[in-house]
């Protein structure tokens, strides 16, 4: 996107987000960090590390332990010109603030006839694979994406994360910024040290292909990449990046070309985001499809215990099965 960038540094997802946050705070005094365990500790995953030292307690604010209090007061802050970056320590705790989310975050702008926007970024840790406690592995993007008037984005790489964080903070819309815990330190890549912005509503074609379109986001992109190596098909891999709104053009263009589609997510199957993508593809491309869209997902149960989560979550193998299914389908 940004071609003028010259210097790059190796960053993982955490340090890339941290770099994006730091630069936005330096650029705009309205940007503040807001939530619990984000100050001196720098976040339980260290995403806000160093910001308290650099910007002080007026800009990096540790709050009382209440997700609803954090989100509700942040609405008031955004109304008054701040751009709070709220941390939800885990998606499973976000449910406690769902009232404020649906009825205030997603509604204040319309309710005031466009007079009061609510420019806030809600950073939310999500996803499985690290075998923590109950409710620390949730993947309920559906609860977010079914709510109108908010953006929901999910970077899968350090490079994406930094540029999308800057764009989220600068957006005048409320943006939920999903951070996959297992990806936090999964890999490093060279990331520009300067500021840059990436689109918030465009999917990215990670690898072009002609046989089958595979759609994934967050931690599942990596699994899909692993799966590609083992299948006898030329896969077009799309990193969705935005869950709301969906980049339907990119999806339809790709599936029209390949005639096959596999959607992968950690979310439960029933009413997971794959349901919408499947419906959209079938509605619009029935005559182009060589096979029904295949959903490769977790099962319709509560996130299970540590000893069985590997059987619950989709992985490269399950994705491979999905690709083989659509490749072998005959009417």
């Amino acid at each position: 996107m940004s071609n003028t960038v010259t210097t790059r540094e190796e960053m993982n997802l955490i340090t890339a987000i941290n770099s994006g946050l730091r630069q936005e705070m330096a650029r705009d005094p309205a940007v503040i960090m807001y939530g619990y365990d984000i100050g001196p500790i720098g976040g339980v995953f260290r995403v806000t590390e160093g910001l308290y030292d650099e910007f002080g307690p007026q800009r990096v604010i540790d709050t009382p332990l209440s997700e609803n209090g954090v989100l509700g007061t942040a609405v008031g802050m955004a109304v008054r010109g701040l751009r709070p970056v709220v941390e939800m320590q885990f998606m499973g705790f976000f449910y406690n603030s769902f009232g404020q989310f649906v009825c205030s975050v997603a509604n204040m702008y319309e309710r005031t006839g466009g007079l009061c926007a609510v420019p806030m970024t809600i950073r939310m840790t999500f996803g499985g694979g690290i075998k923590p406690l109950l409710f620390h592995s949730e993947s309920t993007e559906t609860f977010l994406a079914h709510t109108p008037a908010v953006r929901v984005v999910c970077p899968s790489s350090p490079y994406q994360a930094k540029g999308m964080m800057a764009a989220s903070i600068r957006s005048d819309d409320p943006v939920v910024f999903l951070e996959h815990t297992k990806q936090y330190r999964a890999r490093r890549e060279p990331v520009p040290t300067e500021e840059y912005l990436l689109s918030l509503d465009k999917a990215e074609i990670i690898k072009p292909g002609k046989d089958v379109t595979v759609i994934a986001w967050g931690g599942m992109v990596e699994q899909a990449q692993l799966a590609l190596k083992n299948v006898d098909a030329d896969v077009e891999l799309i990193d969705l990046r935005s869950l709301a709104p969906l980049d339907v053009e990119t999806i339809l263009t790709s599936v029209k070309k390949t005639g096959r589609c596999v959607v992968v997510h950690e979310a439960r199957r029933t009413l997971g985001p794959g349901a919408e993508i499947s419906a959209l593809v079938h509605e619009n491309l029935l005559e182009w499809l060589l096979a029904p869209v295949q959903r490769v997902t977790a099962f319709d149960v509560n996130f299970p215990d540590n000893q069985t989560e590997d059987f619950y979550l989709p992985d490269a193998q399950r994705i491979q099965y999905g690709i083989e299914k659509v490749m072998n389908y005959r009417y």
Binding site: I32, Q58, T63, P64, S66, N68, G69, G72, T73, A74, V75, G76, M77, V79, R80, G81, L82, G99, Q100, C103, S104, Y109, E110, R111, T112, G113, G114, L115, C116, A117, P148, A149, R151, S171, D172, D173, D201, P245, L246, D247, V248, E249, T250, I251, L252, T253, K256, N284
Partner: protein, 382 residues
């Protein structure tokens, strides 16, 4: 109709009071100019005229549901008279007298009651019209107590940005049971937000009496759980409300943080036009509280002070009538929302694929075409 009704004891009148029920002031009276007192009076008179009119409109079917603040009008005006230009209000739906005190555009509120989209109203009655109030009013909290949390965050933001604005918020006693109320007071206490939080204790939350909302004897004493000062005041006494809230505003403005003020009043009418309170309560308490009517008391006081005469009373009543009728006319002139407004003010920037498709579908329907057949789909890559 239920046979068993609630029977609630008389609420304690152990609170700050200046105006006796008779309208005589006792003790120290706040130093307010006669013209200002008349403005308070006017705000209450106009509020009654306005709300009586909206009730009639609801009966005629012009609007689907509306609520009244009858008997509680001293609170909105008494509290908001303590504000100054640049301050903010996050109200509930029963502080209309305060809105009128600050010249909030009445027609805009009424057009909202008609069911017009905020977009339509804003476009028709522009925000920069001459009588723009000097105090900023946020929409009232439909989700009860959510506005209290917003108010505290709003006040925190002002403080962080070095503003000296004070934020005032109102909520019913029933709404103190919501988690949002707890959050708001807790954050206010921790961050010393420049905020005045007013609990309007009118005894009822629709059909549920205040005794079901808390085990504490008063709502004011909830303040101490958050390290805040709390005060309890006769909410039907505009002088006492003004005085108590003024102190709270001064505290907030000088950086000492939030105050919780419980204004004790009584919902002498139904909850709203969908309600029939005779189903669940008898009229005994309401009848008693009608004898404490804030307008009657204030009128008696102003008459006693020679500020109000029969003549000025008549004149205020006539003006109030003309005023609300003019507002109604203006409100009726707001064009109906166009269906397309439903898509407005969701996300900014380029419309998404879904938005384009769905706007086109709606357009097709409006033109009597099959939205699903129409060849309007942007399709892929377009």
């Amino acid at each position: 109709m239920g046979q068993t009704k609630w029977s609630e004891p008389k609420v304690s009148e152990d609170f700050i009071r200046i105006l006796e029920p008779s309208g005589v002031a006792k003790g120290e009276v706040p130093n307010v100019a006669p013209e200002e007192l008349l403005k308070w009076y006017r705000s209450i008179v106009r509020t009654r005229a306005y709300e009586d009119m909206t009730i009639r409109m609801q009966r005629r079917g012009e609007l689907s549901v509306t609520a009244q603040s009858r008997g509680e009008e001293a609170i909105g005006v008494g509290a908001m008279a303590a504000l100054q230009a640049g301050d903010l209000v996050y109200p509930s739906y029963r502080q209309f007298s305060g809105h009128l005190y600050w010249n909030a555009p009445l027609a805009r509120a009424m057009a909202g009651l008609f069911g017009a989209a905020p977009e339509t109203i804003v476009a028709h009655l522009p925000i920069d019209e001459v009588d723009l109030p000097k105090v900023q009013f946020m929409p009232y909290g439909v989700i009860l107590a959510s506005q209290v949390t917003h108010a505290v965050g709003s006040a925190m933001a002002d403080q962080l940005q070095g503003s000296t604005a004070v934020t005032m918020t109102f909520t019913g006693e029933g709404s103190t049971s919501e988690g949002d109320f707890h959050d708001a007071l807790n954050f206010a206490g921790v961050f010393k937000a420049p905020c005045v939080i007013i609990v309007v204790n009118n005894g009822w939350s629709i059909s549920v009496p205040a005794s079901r909302q808390t085990g504490s004897a008063t709502f004011a004493e909830k303040a101490s759980a958050y390290g805040l000062p709390g005060a309890r005041v006769d909410g039907n006494d505009v002088l006492a409300v003004y005085q108590t809230v003024s102190e709270a505003v001064a505290r907030a403005r000088s950086g000492e943080g939030s105050t919780l003020v419980e204004c004790v009043t009584y919902r002498v009418v139904d909850h709203n036009t969908s309600d029939s309170s005779e189903v669940y309560r008898d009229d005994e308490q309401a009848a008693y509280w009608r004898t404490l009517d804030p307008l009657d008391r204030f009128t008696a006081y102003l008459e006693g002070q020679g500020i109000l005469t029969d003549e000025t009373k008549q004149q205020e009543a006539d003006e109030a009538k003309a005023f609300v009728e003019a507002a109604a006319e203006l409100a009726r002139s707001v064009p109906r929302s166009t269906p397309e407004t439903m898509f407005e003010h969701h996300l900014q920037g380029e419309p998404s694929w879904a938005e384009r498709v769905q706007r086109a579908e709606l357009q097709a329907e409006l033109e009597g075409r099959n939205p699903f057949l129409a060849d309007h789909q942007p399709g892929e890559g377009s």
